[in-house]
Subunit: 307 residues, 2 copies
Amino acid sequence: MTLPPEFALIARHFRPLAGEGALGLTDDAALLAPPPGRELVLAADAMVAGVHFLPDDPAETIGRKLLRVNLSDLAAMGADPLGYLMTIALPRGTPDSWLEAFTLGLARDQAEYGLSVLGGDTVSTPGPLTLSLTILGTVPPGQALRRSGARPGDEIWVTGTIGDGHLGLAAARGTLADPDGYLADRYRLPRPRLSIGRALRGVATACMDVSDGLVQDLGHLCRASDCGAVIHASSIPRSPAAQDADISALITGGDDYELLFALPPGSLPSGMAATRIGQFTATSMDVVVLDDAGRPMPLTRQGWSHV
Amino acid sequence: MTLPPEFALIARHFRPLAGEGALGLTDDAALLAPPPGRELVLAADAMVAGVHFLPDDPAETIGRKLLRVNLSDLAAMGADPLGYLMTIALPRGTPDSWLEAFTLGLARDQAEYGLSVLGGDTVSTPGPLTLSLTILGTVPPGQALRRSGARPGDEIWVTGTIGDGHLGLAAARGTLADPDGYLADRYRLPRPRLSIGRALRGVATACMDVSDGLVQDLGHLCRASDCGAVIHASSIPRSPAAQDADISALITGGDDYELLFALPPGSLPSGMAATRIGQFTATSMDVVVLDDAGRPMPLTRQGWSHV
């Protein structure tokens, strides 16, 4: 009996990605003995062509972006990756070569981040390519980083640089010069800060990842922690490629996938690469951004909404 | 600070569905202590409007269908439901009333099947409504039902009736008479056979759910178990509404979501509602369907492929 197209496709492209527990992707579900003495951390994100990535982005980076966006959620909780399930709504007529590059990218990131696919589903769609991924990770009991523990007086820190993803979208679209491709790469391939998240367990009082704009995401952290926040525009870390960009665009644009966290003063773990950008306050749940002269900056928007 | 539309939508419609571990859907991920002494069972399915359900199906049944399709995968493994994550790519301009009905349906099924939402993502799409759901369940260690244990001589059994979902699609489209709405309801709301799956632990030698056509799915079971199968067309259980339908359409149409399982002769648990339809053989990995005269029936197709 010849396998119908769906199952041949799974066997050819996805079975090589399957890890322990996936049962070769031939059963109704995956089967996993949870690591003893750990809590599970679970997150899911979806991406739509033309909304979260460009339809002509390289196939090799599209699946990796979705995997890394989800890994960034694990990093934000201080979790270690365990595995993932992915569903793909594939436009009819997608060539086999596209799937080959797509799964090659996933294979590279599975090796880099130490996890493998547990299951999923491939369906066809008359609409744009639509991907959904559920990630599983683990933390020692009670040690997950949460958004709700920041206290007035805690310092506000971020990893990496802010705004490259936002500029990278323009670069990938060809509307911004990007001679060495640095910015487009930052848009297409986030760097989930897993080792920093892990090192913040028991140290940070609150943590989240910045995905929808620094100001808006800091607002979420303030609401969860019942604090206000003051940050200094001049202290926002920028990459060399972002030195001349408008600061308000950098701090309200999406796709950073850096960690934003709260530390009691003076408690940054030694050797950790991060930048202090401000302080939590008791005054309100608002985020105030101060310009170079110490005046609150007016912002026309806070960040991204996906609906 | 006013919440942007995405977060207001989550707070209004999805937070009421959130259970233990979901952290009110306000953190980066869910946090779950896995039930001690159990294995995890994980599956994911996607559905696209116009492909897996009709664009004008009632909003209330669309989310329930996806949840039940995934619950059917848990049933096939003999697992108990634990929770789920759902991502929704929502066409722009979807009215709030649609989401209200959609989440009301989910709330009803959460109560019926004893699980709750752990997380997810809502994004907008220029294409059709596209849903993805990852389900988590648990089984006692080593007791998950698999596809691979059927042996020549084992009996082939199915739950419920076969072909109602296939006819129900035609009924929902208005191309088949369905005076009492029974068939359309079978298409829109599968009945995951969780209690039967549970009762088959340690009894069935193989099990799966029938979703893409009985003949094709039985072929999967045969390949996984390295067996052949002979089934009798006259023994296929049919609902009253399917009595006059073409048998080859019933056994190759999709959307049954019944359990198909292998039992050593005479080992059906007492009181279990199921129908014996044939026997596994040692002859090949093919599925042979015998007609009333005992002759192999020619079938133009085996079942559904989703790509």
